[in-house]
Amino acid sequence: MNKVKQKDLILYSGLIILGLAAPYLFSAFKVQLTYLCVLIVLAMTWNLQGGEMGYNTFGNILFYGLGMYLTASVQVGMFFPLAEWTESGGEKTFVHTTAQYFQGIGVGLLVSAIVPAIVAGAIGYAILGLRGHYFAICTLGLGIAAGEIAGGIEIIGAGQGFTTPPFPAEIVDTEARGKFFYFLSFALLIGTFVFVKYIYGSRFRLILNAIRDNEDKAEAMGIQTMKYKIVGWMCSAFFCGLAGGIMGGLIGYIDSTDVAFDGREMGVFMVLMAILGGKGTLWGPVIGATLFHFFKEGLWTLILGWQYVALGVLIVVIVVYFPEGLMGWLREKYPERFGEVIDDKDRKAQVELK
């Protein structure tokens, strides 16, 4: 047992070193690497609902968008009048000093983690009683509604969009901004991973699985399923909000439906990545997101104009050939490598049965 732990240790420290070195090794790819971290976080948090709890949500984009708007609003609002900023050309008149910029984004991220979690709690209380596709459709509406509402609120720029504070001009190094956002997102990724891994070893995960496998039975066993479902969703919202906040700062421009509450892209991608890698596994979403991102960045420019067709084909291929995702497929092929004990007699018996 100890030996396995040691292997794990090597794996994790290797990954962390790679993560820390990545922006120096692949300096030109910093933005894409930042995207990768955020995508992995989104896939992992989606997996908590979709994979572990069996609640296919399209609503996580709501927390992502909320986090984005909140971070930017706090970052501006702490020092300057927000309405004047968004109305036109705020960043010319009001310039953040270096200290203000980092204080602002710090407090902003804090808010963008807590508020979405609270919102998830409130919404969850109202709609987590729905099950199956009723829940999926309901959450699909959440993201769309939020986009339309945000597009009508003047103080956050409405249809004009919201330009987030530019990186402080006092820092002359043009690489600094890329590094800052990369390390921020990498820290978030590690935080999310540690948290999810902790959940994987806890009773909480078993309860989520029980809810997925048979919610009525779980309830009959005396588990207050509603409570756990809400807490699970709040955890996802916490990290989704942070991811959104970081992305808002990185992109530099928030548009209500295309950047923040981007259900058509991010909202679908997070589901797709988790399923591609294998939902209900720790590493599945990580692998899924990584593969997806490489597929997207590497191939999409080669097939200009046809990339969404290719994406459609990819979805079909995944659903038909890897319904359980890559991890699920590997598990089926090499069960012993996943620590599953296979009784040889049992396997033979099954072969004979076929």
Binding site: K3, V4, K7, D8, I10, L11, G14, L15, L18, L25, F26, S27, A28, F29, K30, V31, Q32, Y35, S88, G89, E91, K92, E148, G151, G152, A158, G159, Q160, G161, T163, P166, F167, T174, R177, M247, I251, G252, Y253, D255, S256, T257, D258, V259, D262, E265, W283, I287, T290, F294, W300, T301, L304, G305, Q307, Y308, L330, Y334, R337, F338, G339
Partner: protein, 414 residues
């Protein structure tokens, strides 16, 4: 578990290898005899038709300039080449692609994307890396108030699009204020057109009786039109890119909405007069350019010749989006030759001093980067039998036809 670990290590080292080999093949700003420009263009998504108009405009100018000797810098002739990416009409993607063009493809000069929203997303990136960007399709006023130093727009800002139309309506009303109904898509460009109308209304003492916001990917505005039918305003203003123009005409004719004046944007990009024929007659449209204007340059001749050549190459009449995109390359060529260097700041300084005439119009950049030398024009769709075309009605200097007002009622139209 250890097998998985191995699998992982293999996987990650494979990726590392792939990335390293990728990085080493980085491009340069000027490769051999080519000056490499970068552009993220909407080839898919809601702006795809206008994105293609933009790309066609760029390509047309690149071909023409290259054929006519290219760009001469320090006695050597260079040709233009453009790296395109598809931004999927999404600002997030556009910003990411701008980074990619600059950091990975090593592009040092950018051409703008289509639409104000996407330009707004790219401008902070080009500004950060001090990359000069000449853009032809981001008209939002807010782009020019942010103090950007590397952004140059060959077009007039969005708030000027339909102000003239309100002035015309007031003039026809005997100098008294008019009642305006307006509906705008919720995006940066259309919202700026709206601000222009609000200013004009205040100035002329006009009253805004309907002020609707329309969703993006506009497919239905029946609710607004029902209100228009009930309140009978003097002017109806609609702006929502190509889809907005098509939807408005389709539903106005279906619902037989009578308004004395209908003012819109993007009529020519939507090929209204072709697609809807007589139904679109009398619609008043704001435009950056029209082929009948008398501007000239040595590459494209005049507007009419440009239109003919464009028609020959791409099979349709050039909308102003294509014309202004072509003009962007003329501006770049001019700036490179005056700077006589590939230094980004030298090129940027040369761009600041631009003062030239192109087939598309005069170009001179104001302090915010917008073109201040070219007025907007208005044209009206007029039909002879089933043959409809756009005729310039304002400003009077280039007006080929008289402005027809008011629009006859549907019951009187054949």
């Amino acid at each position: 578990m250890n097998k998985i670990a191995k699998l992982f290590v293999t996987f990650i080292s494979a990726i590392t290898l792939a990335l390293v080999s990728f990085t080493s093949s980085s491009f340069a700003k000027v490769e051999g005899e080519y000056i490499v420009l970068g552009s993220a263009i909407s080839l898919t998504g809601k702006y795809s038709s206008n994105g293609v108009h933009t790309q066609n405009g760029y390509n047309m100018a690149v071909d023409r300039i290259n054929k006519m000797g290219g760009v001469e810098v320090q006695g050597k002739k260079y040709k233009f080449e453009i790296i395109y990416y598809d931004d999927e009409s999404n600002p997030k993607r556009a910003a990411q692609l701008a980074e990619r063009l600059i950091k990975q493809d090593g592009v040092h000069y950018m051409l703008g994307p289509y639409s104000s929203g996407l330009t707004k997303a790219i401008a902070p990136v080009t500004e950060k890396y001090k990359i000069p960007m000449v853009e032809a399709n981001g008209a939002s006023r807010s782009l020019f108030t942010k103090g950007y130093k590397y952004l140059f727009a060959v077009l007039s800002p969005a708030n000027q699009y339909l102000e003239v139309a309100i002035d015309l309506a007031v003039e026809k009303n005997g100098g008294k204020g008019v009642r305006i109904a307006q509906a705008f898509e919720q995006d940066a460009f259309s919202q700026d057109v709206r601000l222009g109308i609000l200013d004009a209304a205040k100035r002329t003492g006009s009253e805004i009786i309907i002020d609707d916001k329309l969703p993006k990917e506009l497919n239905d505005m029946a609710a607004t039109l029902a209100k228009v039918k009930a309140t009978k305003p003097d002017v109806l203003v609609v702006s929502g890119h190509t889809k907005g123009a098509l939807t408005a005409i389709r539903q106005i004719s279906e619902m037989k909405v009578d308004v004395p004046m209908l003012a819109m944007t993007h009529c020519d990009a939507a090929k209204l007069s072709k697609q809807h024929g007589k139904k679109s007659e009398y619609a008043l449209c704001a435009s950056q350019w029209h082929k009948n204007l008398s501007y000239k340059d040595k590459f494209f001749g005049g507007g009419k010749k440009y239109a003919r050549d464009f028609q020959k190459e791409f099979g349709y009449d050039p909308p102003y989006q294509s014309a202004e995109s072509s003009a962007a390359l003329l501006v770049f060529k001019d700036a490179f030759e005056r700077a006589n260097s590939f230094d980004r700041d030298a090129v940027r300084d040369a761009l600041v001093d631009t003062e030239m005439q192109t087939f598309y119009g005069n170009i001179k950049f104001g302090p915010g980067g917008q073109n201040i030398a070219k007025p907007m024009i208005l044209f009206q769709v007029r039909c002879k039998g089933d043959d409809c075309e756009n005729r310039v009605v304002a400003p009077t200097k280039w007006a080929s036809d008289k402005f027809y007002h008011p629009i006859p009622k549907w019951s009187e139209r054949s």
